[in-house]
């Protein structure tokens, strides 16, 4: 007995399948054509927490700003210091250009260059803050660095890892999302960020209000490896960063705190040694040794980020330390 009989012709099949592909092809053409001939707005892929923060900081770095104190660094810089509070306590406007993503000093140098170019003569001090976790990283994460560089270059990002992703990029999905959708429809943020901030647009508004700083809304178990060291690539990256500094401005450097119980009793000595070495590589004006190497575990939301109350205290200590050096 036969399995099945087909009461349709190949022509019927084509008639059912082909017509919906025509609008899809037109859409792909419109997206790629619009991007190639600049008929569409520039890419602004603020579509998730990471990219929203990256895009916000990259845009801020290119905008006019009156900040005299510039904070640069990893997520601990972004989340452990309130730039608004720092500015108020120092009596000089401060701006936080820290990023959530895994970027290195070379990437921070790019942000700094942009800022100095957009705001010549305004920067009085650059404060570089990194967590010991980040100091042992060799390079930037290619994905995050790609997002940043593509954003600046006005290119669309396509982070395809398989044939489905490549097909979607080919059909213009990323161009649509990055250039149109992200501007028209705010995206809900996942997890704790969603609960605390809501949508991408709300996070950006909060960052603008807070002069670039973000509070870590999560609570996470302490994870990771407490054997901290400086990455061998850090010396060269430090020199690249130094070359981006405006003339006459040397950086202040600090290593942000980690939980006491996690880092162990020997860590403060290690912290001091790492800070001294890093400051020497940067030829820094000052290593902010007054800042604590560790804080009680209760001050942290995760190994690298502080809770709101601890951010206030840490910022106050940073302000005191900077005031002494700036005067």
């Amino acid at each position: 007995m036969k399995s099945h009989t087909c009461e349709f012709t190949p022509r019927d099949l084509l008639r059912f399948l082909a017509p919906p592909l025509v609008p899809l092809a037109l859409f792909a053409l419109a997206m790629h054509g619009g991007a190639a001939w600049n008929l569409l707005p520039a890419p602004r892929p603020a579509l998730d927490t990471d990219r929203t923060i990256l895009v916000h900081q990259a845009e801020t770095a290119r905008a006019r700003h009156s900040a005299e104190i510039l904070l640069l660094g990893d997520s601990s810089c972004l989340m452990d210091v309130s730039a608004r509070q720092l500015g108020e306590q120092l009596g000089r406007p401060a701006l936080n250009l820290g990023t959530l993503s895994f970027l290195d000093l070379n990437a921070y140098a790019l942000l700094l260059r942009d800022y100095v170019q957009a705001n010549p003569g305004t920067v009085r001090a650059v404060v570089l803050l990194m967590n010991p976790e980040a100091l042992r990283r060799l390079d930037s994460e290619p994905y995050h660095l790609g997002v940043l560089k593509n954003f600046w270059a006005g290119r669309d990002s396509c982070a395809a890892t398989n044939w489905e992703g490549e097909a979607c990029c080919l059909l213009g999905s990323e161009i649509f999302k990055g250039r149109l959708l992200s501007r028209a429809v705010p995206v809900p943020l996942p997890g704790a960020f969603g609960r605390a901030y809501g949508f991408t647009r709300d996070l950006e508004a909060s960052m603008t209000r807070e002069a670039g700083s973000v509070l870590d809304p999560g609570t996470n178990a302490f994870q990771g490896n407490a054997e901290y060291r400086l990455a061998p690539t850090l010396e060269r990256a430090s020199q690249a960063f130094k070359s981006a500094l405006p003339a006459g401005v040397n950086p202040f450097v600090a290593i942000t705190p980690v939980p006491e119980s996690f880092a162990g009793s020997r860590y403060p000595a290690r912290h001091a040694a790492m800070l001294a070495q890093w400051a020497a590589w940067l030829n820094a004006d000052a290593a902010l040794t007054e800042l604590p190497a560790t804080l009680p575990a209760g001050a942290f939301t995760r190994v690298t980020h502080l809770k709101e109350i601890a951010v206030t205290n840490y910022t106050a200590r940073l302000a005191t330390s900077l005031k002494a050096h700036l005067n």
Binding site: S3, P23, L26, F27, G165, P188, R195, G198, R201
Partner: protein, 481 residues
């Protein structure tokens, strides 16, 4: 294997190729379906293939024995044994942890130390669906509604048919099983309908459900609420679960249709229901009719007076709630709906269903007039169903109480505008197309458009799917049931 994944697209393309090759051999087709279905299921965890095979083999043998046995008492015993075995398997995998946790909590409440033997039991995907499908076969053979099949492979294909294996619809043997015994015809309308259902189902899942899922999560994972956030979050979840589950059912039906098979309709625009009974005729139809036929009627249905009828409704709905998962909030959800159905039954039985005097023939009222006429009933039903979804989605009784209490707080969360914009953007296509289907009474009304309009509509859906295809794949909610 998820329908909304590249792996499934490759799998289905390869399957269609092989399906074409076996078109002259019925037995080979059924064998191919079984092999493909087992591959589809084993992709998730091959160890549970033995469970699927064992469960199917057991019910196949029970069916044969039930048909042969003349003695009603022995037949009843055999059926009881079959039901017990199926429910023990289901109960162990699905409810063991829940039972132990509830027992421990109960003992702890009484101050008695209790240290049960704990196991890390993994819930096999789709076990509730295929167990119920397999059980319905034994029940139908017992009731002599269908003959027992003698074709083992056909029976394996019936239980494991991949389009509906892991999330239904829960098919009945009398409908699906005979299709494996005969040559199926793939007609032009079937093919067109199948392609449309796959496209529409994918859109509902990939674009609607997965986009509103973070909205629901944002509210339900929070710890502070207001009336606005509870309402918006519950609407988001109502859209998510509907888009997710009905999307799956549509893809399942479409896939089967393309192969020449017919599987039952599982959803019929449920949020257009004008009363709770109507809702249950439209929501998860394969489960609600299963519960009606095999549980409610077996409990006595409405044959033993009003009080017993209401009790039967409550029992059926609570067990139906627990079918969804091993948690008390599912039982509460079932109880909520059971109570609602009982109240609706009590009130509707007081009103005569047939008018006493003949009504003169008249033109049907305009759609707008109908909408206004039924608006209060529709809104009341929707509000009832939405509160039910709150019970269903909440993680604890405390959360239910706090979210219910928050309904008295009229403050607006700062993200209200963005939330509404997202809901509007993602719900609009679904609402518009379903309103059109409801108005015309034709779920395939989109296929009656002119070729250009049809191409534009289907193309727009396809563009939506392509835009949202590349993001973290969200498993279908009903996989966990």
């Amino acid at each position: 294997m998820l329908f909304n994944s590249g792996v499934f697209l490759q799998f289905f393309a390869a399957f269609l190729l092989l399906y074409g090759l076996v078109r002259h051999h019925l037995a080979a087709r059924n064998l191919l379906i079984v092999a493909a279905s087992y591959l589809f299921y084993g992709w998730w965890d091959w160890r549970f293939l033995a469970l699927l095979f064992g469960s199917s083999t057991f019910d196949f043998l029970v069916g044969l024995a039930l048909e042969k046995l003349p003695d009603p008492r022995r037949r009843r015993l055999l059926l009881a044994a079959s039901i017990v075995v199926n429910l023990v398997i289901l109960g162990f995998f699905k409810y063991y942890n829940f039972f132990i946790e509830s027992l421990t909590a109960l003992f702890a409440h009484g101050g008695v130390p209790f240290h049960p033997f704990s196991l890390q039991v993994i819930l096999p995907v789709g076990i509730s669906f295929y167990t119920f499908q397999s059980m319905s076969y034994a029940l139908d053979v017992y009731r002599r509604e269908i003959p027992a099949t003698r074709h083992f492979i056909n029976f394996l294909a019936y239980v494991s048919f991949f389009p509906q294996l892991v999330a239904g619809p829960i098919e009945r043997a009398r409908h699906l099983l005979p299709q494996f015994d005969r040559t199926v015809v793939i007609s032009r309308p079937m093919l067109e309908e199948g392609i449309w259902l796959i496209l529409w189902g994918m859109f509902k899942k990939v674009v609607v459900a997965d986009s509103v899922a973070p909205l629901a999560e944002m509210v339900f994972d929070h710890s502070h609420w207001s009336a606005a956030s509870v309402t918006l979050g519950t609407i988001a979840f109502a859209l998510q679960i509907y888009g997710d589950f009905s999307g799956y059912s549509d893809i399942a039906r479409g896939t089967a249709r393309v192969l020449g098979f017919d599987i039952m309709v599982n959803f019929n625009i449920p949020y257009a229901a004008r009363n709770l009974r109507d809702f249950w005729r439209r929501w998860h139809i394969s489960l609600s009719t299963w519960l009606r036929d095999y549980l409610y009627i077996s409990l006595g249905g409405n044959r033993h007076g009003s009080a017993r009828t209401y009790l039967n409704l409550l029992i059926t709905m609570v067990l139906g709630g627990l079918w969804h998962g091993a948690a008390w909030n599912f039982a509460l959800w079932g109880l909520w709906h059971g109570a609602g159905l009982a109240v609706h039954r009590a009130f509707s039985s007081r009103r005569p269903l047939v008018p006493s005097a003949p009504v003169p023939a008249q033109a049907p009222p305009r759609f707008a007039f109908q909408v206004l006429r039924f608006l209060p009933a529709w809104l009341a039903t929707l509000a009832f169903v939405l509160y039910g979804w709150l019970l269903f989605r909440a993680r604890s009784f405390t959360q239910i109480l706090e979210m219910t209490r928050a309904l008295g707080d009229f403050s607006l969360p700062p993200w209200t505008g963005s939330f509404l914009l997202n809901l509007g953007v993602f719900a609009a296509p679904l609402v518009l197309i379903e309103a059109w289907q409801e108005r015309t009474g034709d779920p395939l009304v989109t296929l009656k458009l002119s070729p250009w309009r049809k191409a534009a509509l289907q193309g727009a859906l396809l563009i939506g799917i392509v835009i949202y295809w590349q993001r973290e794949k969200v498993p279908f909610i009903y996989f966990q049931f």
